[in-house]
Every structure is written in C-alpha cells, then in structure tokens.
C-alpha cells in the first residue's frame, strides 16, 4: 500500500470519527444527565461523570407521568398503522400495478394528489371528523390519518411493477383467481418491499407529534412523543428528570434498530430509490 493511501485513510477515519462523536454526544449527555442529581447537573464547570449515580430520576419520572400507558399507546399506534399499511396498500398497489381496469390511471391520480400535498392541509377537517365521531382521546383517533397511505401504495406499486409477469402467468394457468395471485404469489415476493414500508411507517408513526397533540390532550391516551411534550411543560427545568424521560422515549426504537439494522437501512434506501 502506498503511503498516500494510508494517509488518505487516516484522514477519512478522522473525519468520520469526529462526525460520529458529534452524532452520539447528545445521546451520551442525555444519559449522563439522567443519572445526576439536580444540583450536580447544574454545577459549573459541568460534571461529566457523576460520583454518585442516581437512578431515582427514572423512578420519579415513571411515577409522575403514566409512562407505561405511553408505551402501550405508542405500540398500538405503530402496530395498527403498520397493519393497515401492509394490507390496504399492498392490495391497492397490486391492483394498480397488475390489473388493467377502466379508469385505473385516472383513479391513481387520487393517490398522487395525496402524496404531493402537505399533511397540514388535511389536519383541521380530519380533526373535525374525529370530533364528530366522538373519538377525541382514543387510540382510534391516533391511528385514523394513517389508515390509508398513499406513499405506501405508490412504493409497493413500483415494487409490483418491477416483478416479472411470468411469475403470475404460471399461477393463472393453475386457475388461481386474482386474490390468490395477489396473496399467494405476489405477496411472498414483495417481502422486502413490505419490510421497507413497515419500517418507514413505524418510524413515522413513532415520531409524529403534531397529530397526537391535536387529538389526544388527555394524558392517558398520549403516545410517547406527546407525553414528552407534556413532561417538559410541567417540569421545565429539571433536566435530569427530562433526560430520564427522553431515555424512556428513545430506547425501544433504538434497540429495534440495533437488532434489525440491515432491514432499517435497506428499507430507508429502498424508499429513496423507488421514487
């Protein structure tokens, strides 16, 4: 190896390590703050590693706000959004990609319209629907705007279009009807597309703040994101406790990410390339 190659590699590693440090530092600081007492967290110069580790912040935050309920609400929200995305989007996507029915391209415009318009334009009427149904402060209200997913329909349609037609022809010769072609032949082949869509939908639902703030003001029905906003509203300056709450809120998704890194990263890369 040439000397210039080695120095180039050292430069690249140095830049990437500094970058990694900047990316990770806030999380480290979040954790370190969460195990300090309030007094230690406000010392100048800042104490990096506290002499005495305080786990009490976690207990206090857990007792102050219904975190177990936040978890349940968030899991239900993510679960239902993903289930709806996988079933309804794939059905519609298959039909748009593979069945040539009259008016198909015109109807597909409806999907494209939703895709292009910022979600804020739907929020007030969607909120009024929730009010009319008397669904305020329910899980149903949280899930509602995600029942149909134009992005997912578009993504999976592209995916189905890219699969060779021969696969289906064999099924037709065997006398499969459309549902069997979709469910038994195409769905298993679309696994990577479905995984990508699930991950994308899950991250999106997990992070969403505006909609939960609008429909679920009752603390028992908040997901983690809105719960954290509420925590900050109540305990503005007790950073050790706020950081403990933040750790509660980010850990499950980060653990999932560490376990399914390949799927997460490929999934996100797919959503980019398919557009």
């Amino acid at each position: 190896m040439k000397n210039s190659d080695i120095s180039e590699k050292i430069t690249i590693h140095t830049i990437l390590i500094v970058g990694s440090f900047i990316m990770v530092l806030p999380f480290i600081w979040m954790f370190l703050t969460s195990i300090k007492s309030l007094a230690v967290s406000m010392q100048i110069p800042p104490v990096i590693f506290p002499k005495e580790i305080i786990w009490k912040n976690y207990v206090d935050v857990w007792n102050k706000l219904p975190f177990s309920q936040f978890y349940i609400n968030t899991i239900l929200l993510v679960l239902f959004r993903v289930l709806f995305a996988i079933t309804l989007c794939s059905m519609a996507a298959y039909s748009f990609a593979r069945i040539k029915f009259p008016g198909r391209d015109l109807i597909f415009m409806i999907v494209l319209i939703q895709l292009m318009i910022p979600s804020q334009l739907f929020i007030i009427p969607q909120y009024l629907i929730v009010v009319k149904l008397a669904w305020l402060n329910t899980i149903k209200a949280l899930v509602l705007p995600g029942i149909v997913n134009a992005f997912g329909t578009f993504l999976l349609r592209q995916f189905f279009l890219s699969l060779p037609a021969e696969l289906e022809e064999a099924g037709i010769l065997d006398g499969c009807n459309r549902w069997q072609l979709y469910w038994k032949i195409m769905m298993p082949l679309a696994k990577s597309g479905l995984v990508a869509l699930s991950i994308f939908t899950a991250i999106y639902a997990w992070k969403d703040l505006l909609w939960p703030l609008v429909v679920n003001m009752s603390i028992e029905k908040m997901p983690l994101s809105a719960g954290l906003a509420n925590l900050q509203g109540q305990y503005t300056t007790n950073y050790p406790q706020l950081m403990a709450g933040s750790i509660f809120a980010i850990t499950p998704m980060i653990i999932l990410f560490f376990f399914f890194q390949k799927q997460f990263i490929q999934g996100i890369a797919t959503t980019g390339s398919k557009n």
């Binding site: 039909s95 391209d105 999907v111 149909v148 289906e168 950073y239 980010i250 998704m253």
Partner: protein
Amino acid sequence: MAKGNKEDISVSPQTMQRSKKNWNKKAIDYAWGYFMIAPTIIGLLILNIWPLIQTMYLSLCKLSGFGSAKFIGFDNYIKMFHDKELLKTILNTVEYTILSVPIAVVLSLILAVLLNTNIKYKFIYRTLYFIPVVSTPAAIAMVWKWLMNYDYGLINYILSIFKIDGPNWISDPKFALFSLVIVGVWSCLGYNMVILLAGLQEIPKTFYEAAEIDGAKSINKFFLITIPMVSPTLFFVVITTLMSSLQIFDLIFMMIGNTNPALPNVQSLVFLFYRYSFFISNKGYGSAIAILLFMIIMIFTLIQLLFQKKWVHYE
C-alpha cells in the same frame, strides 16, 4: 409507467376471442381490480380529498370554536397581507429552509462519499450516524435545548474553555434560528446519507477505473463522475429535505416553546398554523395559512424542477 410489463395477462391473444365466457372473465377481473383498490380509494376520499376541499372552503370562512362556519370570501387572505406576524413567519420559514437544505445536503453527500470508499468499520459509522433518524424529535429537541442552555449547557462550557463567551442559543432572537438549523441538519444527516450511499453504490466501478487510466484526480472524479451519476438521488434528497424543512414544527414546539422571547423570530408556518387552528381556535385563518404553506411549497418545488434540467442527469 413501466413498458413491456404484461399487466393485462387476461387479454392475451387466446382470450381475445369474443366468447361470452371470456368476457365474463374480464368483468370478473375488473371487479377484482375495483374491489382491491376500494378500501384505499374510499379512505383517501374521506380522509384526504374531502378534507382538502373542506380546508379550501374553510379558508374562506370565519369560524371559531365548534360553531358553524360563516362564509366571508377572501377576507382571511386579505388579512394576511397586513399581518406582520405572518409575514415574519414566512421569512423565518424560508430563511430556515435556505440555510438548512444546502448544509444538510452537502454534509450528507460528503459523509456518503467518505463511507463509499474502501475503508474498514464502515457499518459502525453508518449505524452511529443513523441513530437520530430513529429517535423521537421531542427527545432530541430537549437534549439539544439542554446542551445549548446558556448557564449550564455543555456547549457554552466548551466554548468558555477557548475563552469564547457563548450566546444564548435558545432565547436570543439572533441565534435561535441558527440553533434550529444545527439541530435540524444534525437530525436528518443519517437519513440523507443512507439514501445517497445507496445511489453511490450503483455507480459502476468501471467508470472510475477508466478515469484513473486517463490520470484523473480524485477531485475531478468527484465532479465529473460522482455528481452527475448520483444526481437523480441527490435531487430526491434535495426535494425531501426541502419539504421537511418548510414544514418544520416539532423542534420549534419543543425547543423554543410559546413563552420564549425569540419565538417571533423563529416560528414557522406550521407552528403558526397550529397556534391559529388549535390554540386561538381560528380555524378559518389556520386553513388559509395551510393553503399558503402549500403554495410556498409548490413554488419551491417548481423552482427545483426548473433547475433540475441543468444538473440532474437521468440515464
């Protein structure tokens, strides 16, 4: 639409014979087609298309609380021209976008290019850069607010070591927008990087080998091969970053908040939309702001589409 795709398998030459049986088959096929799109289309009509029309109508109405809407024509839009707060908010949103999009795109491209080189432990870096993407923005906003705290924040402490008097990142109107840009860029780097990296990996190695034989330097290879080849992906990243920047809300809601003196200098259109629609409960004006946001997004997107011809190369 993809050509050469035998979408209409059922209409292959054999089945074209006009026997009644085959016509039935086609009708059944159509029925399946409509049946399978029905849930999505009905959902979109109820949850998106009808609300879209309603928002347009509400923007022409005065409506407070749960009371019925009263049609007032273009009053909400006329009011906008005299609303200094709104004009400032438009400027804030545009300024935030113009600052954060180029920084975010350039930094994530640099990272992607570095990660696309032949080095070890790539996957570790990739994982670390991606963590913010899977973290709740509410939590991210809080920890940055703490890091940027004027009195006890780590950042100002580090600056003080270098004898720099750190600013009040969050409450100083001159710095608050800049602070939001830092956090916004930091949050989206990993996402953009992963997408760009996928684009970079599709560039055939032979292109670079040929350039090396011709004696091209790294910097030339970057501008003559990498950029043109990755430009469709880069364009996608620019558009998505642009859209999300114009719609910034979470960070302002969590980091700045309603009582902060810097709020008028940083609040975004979505934040103002939220305040009018659900705090002040003036949903008519809120709807008008949403329509305005849409028009601004359209303008930015159109500009991008026009510029696209100059630098995006599709194969």
